[in-house]
């Protein structure tokens, strides 16, 4: 059993670490339970750990690599006294104060909690997918793009991250297909224009992957046309999945109010959840903007909300 903390922050992406910077500077000595190493986006630093060039975070006119940016966020929080536990929270109890948080057998207590567990990449959910992960199938273009030099590969998805990955991968691959189930991209205009102008990139519209093929290594996919339902095979050496995210809220079932799509509910214009003293920020409660800078902004709100709440409720 530990002492009762002023604030515990669960999660360490842009939201959690910004909350940590603000809370640390407000002398709340935040404890950040940052998650544990993984090759998915559910890891310390969050989704940006799997991202290449971040070009839209203010203050970096030449862009910055996602992992580098998150390392800097973390150093800044540490500099002001934030403490870190590099493990995953296994259970929470927000029914009474102080709030209880378990990491395996270890129990932590806090007057306020900031939830910033983010979101993680969705997988296709097809047979062979898990087996071929790391053997031609990847969820991390930055990590694995290098190994597909002069090969033919594909990215599945149509949002900003899919188009950004596909564009990045043309640095290595001889050909990159972007497999998208609709007839237009959701990605922002600048990303779309970049994709359309790239001679190595070909967009396969109205297509979805229905089978992943390969014995020891990925060898290709079977695509189905979403309009005509005609199937055809496409041989590939690499397949990258970027079809979106789901919020990491399993931990909070029955503890906090969730929307139908699984995201946490916060009171409009604040970071307050329905449980007084528990705040949420970043992608775990944002199914609309989902940007590093909006996550950071909401992390700042959560720290300020937690600080004011503590002032009002300290016995």
């Amino acid at each position: 059993m530990n002492d009762i903390r002023d604030v515990i922050i669960i999660g360490s992406g842009p939201a959690g670490l910004t909350a940590a910077i603000y809370a640390a500077r407000a002398n709340m000595t935040p404890l950040v339970i940052e998650g544990e190493p993984s090759s998915t986006s559910d890891q310390p630093g969050g989704q940006l750990m799997l991202t290449t060039d971040v070009e839209n975070f203010p203050g970096f006119p030449d862009g910055i690599m996602g992992p580098e940016l998150m390392t800097q966020f973390r150093s800044q929080a540490a500099r002001f006294g934030a403490e870190f536990v590099t493990r995953k929270v296994t259970r929470v109890d927000f029914s009474a104060r102080p709030f209880q948080i378990w990491v395996g057998e270890d129990q932590y207590q806090a007057q306020t909690v900031i939830v910033s567990t983010g979101a993680q990449s969705l997988m296709l959910g097809l047979p062979n997918e898990q087996r071929l992960l790391g053997h031609g199938l990847s969820t991390c273009a930055t990590c694995d793009g290098f190994f597909f030099r002069d090969q033919e590969i594909a990215v599945v998805g149509g949002g900003d991250s899919a188009v950004e990955e596909a564009t990045f991968l043309t640095r290595f691959a001889s050909k990159v297909y972007l497999i998208h189930r609709r007839d237009e991209l959701r990605a922002s205009k600048i990303m779309r224009d970049r994709a359309f102008a790239n001679p190595k990139l070909e967009i396969l519209w109205n297509s979805q992957v229905v089978e992943i093929e390969g014995d020891k290594k990925l060898s290709g996919v079977i695509l189905e046309d979403t309009v005509t339902h005609i199937r055809e095979s496409l041989s590939l050496q690499g397949l990258f999945i970027a079809i979106g995210h789901r919020p990491n809220t399993d931990l909070f079932q029955g503890q906090l109010e969730l929307k139908e799509n699984g995201y946490l509910v916060t009171e409009p214009d604040t970071s307050k959840t329905k449980v007084a003293g528990v705040f949420a920020c970043g992608d775990v409660q944002d199914d609309y903007y989902r940007q590093a800078v909006t996550a950071a902004g909401s992390g700042c709100m959560a720290a300020i909300d937690a600080e004011r709440w503590l002032e009002e409720h300290s016995q």
């Binding site: 190493p37 890891q43 996602g66 390392t71 790391g134």
Partner: protein
Amino acid sequence: MAEGITDLDMNSFDDAIGSSDTPVLVDFWAEWCGPCKMIAPILEEIAAEQEGIKVAKVNVDDSPDLARRYEIMSIPALIVFENGEPAKKLIGAKPKGALLEEIGEFL
């Protein structure tokens, strides 16, 4: 006394792996790989704490031939070499406990 992590490249790899009398855990990594950076401190701890295994690393940017030889398509990739031959391959970043469990048979 346990040692630190040795950097290996194309020139030093075969000798170092072939002449080792204990298993060697080799971390294939690169500067641009976020998950690789995350497990770096864990590997340093393992190198310092585990007497039964040596830890080495190969930068795939500097030694692409080694990455190709061991068919690496995703990093971080950890390969345990025993008697100079790859005995176990682990792909992806993992927490320390899970990693120790996976390499337990070699410790």
